[in-house]
């Protein structure tokens, strides 16, 4: 009941091949991503200063990252003054240990959770289970994933890969293992499914003593934590229990309360395509007689400082987890989220996961290639993360790694030598055109290049190399009039 794990997932190409063969998955994803895409465009078009908001969001985040140590200390002081306790975690194990100890100290063995990417990232539910603590996911999609012992496949909607009929079956078959069973004769209309989740979780909310959440934003100047949500499960977790533990990446800071005016405009529209999400809760430390009386904030590094150290890759830390880039990505739409082998799927996952965890495993090294570089993700990003640029940057890093992609390295080395030796290059060109009738018109290549060449054809070679044509062209003929037949070659 701990949920699945991304550990040991195959590299992206293998996982994608399996996912592509799942026609129901593709239908579910196409339906969902196309629905949200159109709505997002409409919501964004309502604001004629969208580009200014996007630029301001980018600048505020860059500024914060450039002074992150100062803002972290400011945040720590403000939270502490307001009655909270701040903890620092270098990595996943550190964070899991801190949170497990905090829960143990309360004497309780059940916690309710608000959807949190950071807790997914560190595998918190598994760590809690090992320590004898049951973590109950309360976001509808997270509940679906947890009941089905599945993995999340989308940042905003972790069960996006399931359609309503599948969700009905999961509720019917699994809810009674965790508490109140699904109503008899449950239909698959979304309203009935939402009602079933309400009834199932109600008793857990009302008796909850400990809650664990993530954070969308942390305000350095005031120590205020901000959580955006839709269902009210967040409000339940953030309001009813005695103890609240919030885990947040160190990059979630904004300098001032005023900065929210940018992100509260861009995040809901980019995420759920709403002018505003139904509920946003903000709190600062503890408030006597209102909400949890014990508040712990755990600040998580877990590879973020490695990312911060890379001037090109650093911009990935601007991410506000809206998931717009997933919804427009042609690769994500076809492969789904599980293929990315991390809680962060899609284009942002392809640049975040290898930076947080390194590029030494075949899976992580394959992620920067899980893209067509079409740039749709950059266009929709509300903080203007240039995802294609970072993908190329990471590909360079992987190509430079020893023992990585040996064939590609060999080909690149040969090409480098050839381009350094103009005589050899000219000779090779003449040789290629002289033997053009012998060339195959179709790939595949044999061996390891087969995967790349399967989906590509060989371009037809012209009758003569460009250099030969240039030398031989009649005097007075301009450079823009190649001989007949040559302009059709590609």
């Amino acid at each position: 009941m701990s949920g699945g794990t991304f550990m040991g997932m195959p590299a992206f190409p293998q996982a994608a091949k399996a996912a592509l063969a799942d026609t129901r998955l593709r239908a579910n994803l196409t339906h969902a991503t196309h629905t949200i895409r159109t709505k997002r465009a409409t919501a964004v078009a309502e604001l004629d200063d969208w580009n200014d908001l996007r630029e301001a969001g980018k600048q505020i985040k860059d500024h914060t990252l450039a002074h992150l140590d100062t803002y972290l200390l400011q945040l720590e002081a403000a939270v502490t003054t307001a009655g909270g306790t701040v903890h620092w975690a270098t990595d996943a194990d550190d964070a899991n240990r801190i949170i497990t100890d905090l829960v143990h100290a309360t004497g309780h063995t059940e916690v309710v959770k608000v959807k949190s990417m950071a807790t997914q990232e560190i595998g918190l539910n598994h760590a809690l289970e090992q320590a004898g603590i049951t973590a109950v996911e309360t976001d509808l999609a997270e509940l679906i994933v947890q009941l089905d012992d599945d993995l999340p496949s989308h940042i905003l909607v972790p069960a996006i890969h399931k359609n309503r009929a599948q969700i009905r079956d999961i509720f019917t078959h699994h809810m009674h293992h965790w508490g109140r069973p699904a109503p008899d004769n449950l239909t698959d209309t979304p309203a009935d499914l939402a009602e079933a989740a309400r009834l199932h979780l109600r008793e857990k909310f009302l008796r909850a003593k400990v809650a664990i959440s993530g954070a969308n934003f942390m305000i350095a100047e005031t120590g205020t934590i901000v959580v955006l949500e839709s269902e009210g499960n967040g409000r339940m977790c953030l309001t009813l229990p005695d103890t609240l533990i919030t885990l947040a990446g160190i990059e979630k800071i904004l300098p001032t309360w005023q900065d929210l005016e940018v992100f509260l405009q861009t995040l809901p529209r980019s995420s759920t395509a709403e002018r505003m999400n139904p509920y946003t809760t903000t709190w600062t430390g503890t408030t006597p007689h209102d909400g949890p009386q014990n508040f712990h904030l755990v600040l998580l590094d877990n590879g973020r400082t490695n990312t911060l150290a890379d001037p090109t890759g650093r911009q990935a830390l601007r991410c506000i987890r809206c998931s717009a880039c997933l919804n427009v990505c042609p690769v994500y739409e076809r492969t789904g989220g599980h293929t990315y082998g991390s809680p962060y799927p899609g284009p942002i996952g392809a640049i975040l996961t290898p930076q947080l965890h390194g590029t030494t495993t075949p899976l992580h090294a394959s992620l920067p290639y899980a893209s067509t570089l079409c740039g749709a993700c950059y266009d929709v990003c509300p903080v203007a993360i240039n995802i294609p640029d970072i993908l190329i940057h990471l590909r360079e890093r992987i190509t430079d790694q020893p023992r990585s992609h040996p064939l590609e390295s060999a080909v690149m080395k040969a090409a480098a030598w050839m381009l350094d030796h103009p005589g050899a290059y000219a000779l090779a060109g003449q040789g290629a055109t002289a033997t053009r009738r012998l060339h195959p018109t179709e790939l595949p290549l044999p061996g390891p290049a087969k995967a790349w060449s399967n989906s590509r054809d060989l371009p037809a070679l012209p009758q003569q190399p460009f250099r030969t044509w240039w030398k031989k062209r009649p005097a007075g003929q301009g450079p823009h009039t190649p001989p007949a037949g040559e302009d059709t070659q590609r």
Partner: protein, 230 residues
């Protein structure tokens, strides 16, 4: 101090994270007192003109767009509107926070009013049908009401557990056009709930449906001196 005490103490996680941040930023020392260039804020302070009637109409439109019930009335009619909404709901009980103007409830009959004294538990509130509150302010462009636990709003739990929330907005003084106008008027040290329509989810096929854990019915009463006709 003995020589043994001079062995380096293992760094705390706090020191290690801060050290890594500073190393990543290219220096060992703290990065200094930062100041964001105000020139980055080229976005608009508001997207609509400051005409109170049209701002109120926009608020009403955006609240209704996200399935809140919207009711216009004058201050004199407010008690009757609250009483009618509770009666239409068939509410046997309604909780109210401290500081709610008592005359708002003058016309209520048939609904038992429970005054929160700070001791009502979540289980007790789960048996209460409705809650009546005021608000700190409302944002027209986003269709949002903000509660900041002030007088007439009370503890966050009150507007959360009952399934029906009646929220009173006093126009024009409590209505702002935009988020940049809203934030300076709010004190971040107070616990806040920003509400834009009733509870909803997009978790099933990314399609929005109303009604999950928060109040499934949200009625917003817009009080103004000259409500729109009809």
């Amino acid at each position: 101090m003995t020589p043994a005490d001079e062995a380096p103490v293992p760094a705390t996680s706090r020191e290690r994270v801060l050290g890594r941040v500073r190393a990543a930023l290219g220096g060992g020392a703290a990065s200094g007192t930062p100041r964001l260039d105000p020139a980055v804020r080229t976005y608009k302070e508001s997207h609509v003109p400051d005409d109170p009637a049209s701002v109120l109409a926009l608020l009403a439109h955006n609240l209704a767009d996200y399935r809140a019930g919207v009711h216009h009335c004058t201050a004199g009619d407010l008690p009757a509107v609250i009483a009618r909404l509770l009666a239409d709901r068939g509410a046997a009980t309604a909780v109210v926070p401290p500081g709610l103007p008592p005359h708002w409830l003058d016309a209520v009959t048939g609904t038992q009013v429970v005054h929160d004294d700070g001791t009502l538990t979540a289980h007790r509130l789960d048996t209460v049908d409705s809650v009546v509150t005021g608000c700190a302010l409302a944002v027209a462009e986003t269709g949002t009401v903000v509660l900041d636990a002030g007088p007439g709003q009370g503890r966050r739990i009150l507007s959360l557990v009952p399934d029906h929330h009646i929220c009173v907005v006093e126009a024009p003084e409590q209505v702002v056009t935009s988020l940049p106008r809203a934030l300076p008027r709010l004190d971040p040290r107070r616990p806040m709930t920003w509400i834009s329509g009733p509870s909803a989810t997009s978790d099933i096929e990314l399609d929005r449906v109303e009604g999950v854990h928060g109040p499934r019915t949200l009625d917003v009463i817009l009080v103004s001196s000259s409500p729109p006709s009809g």
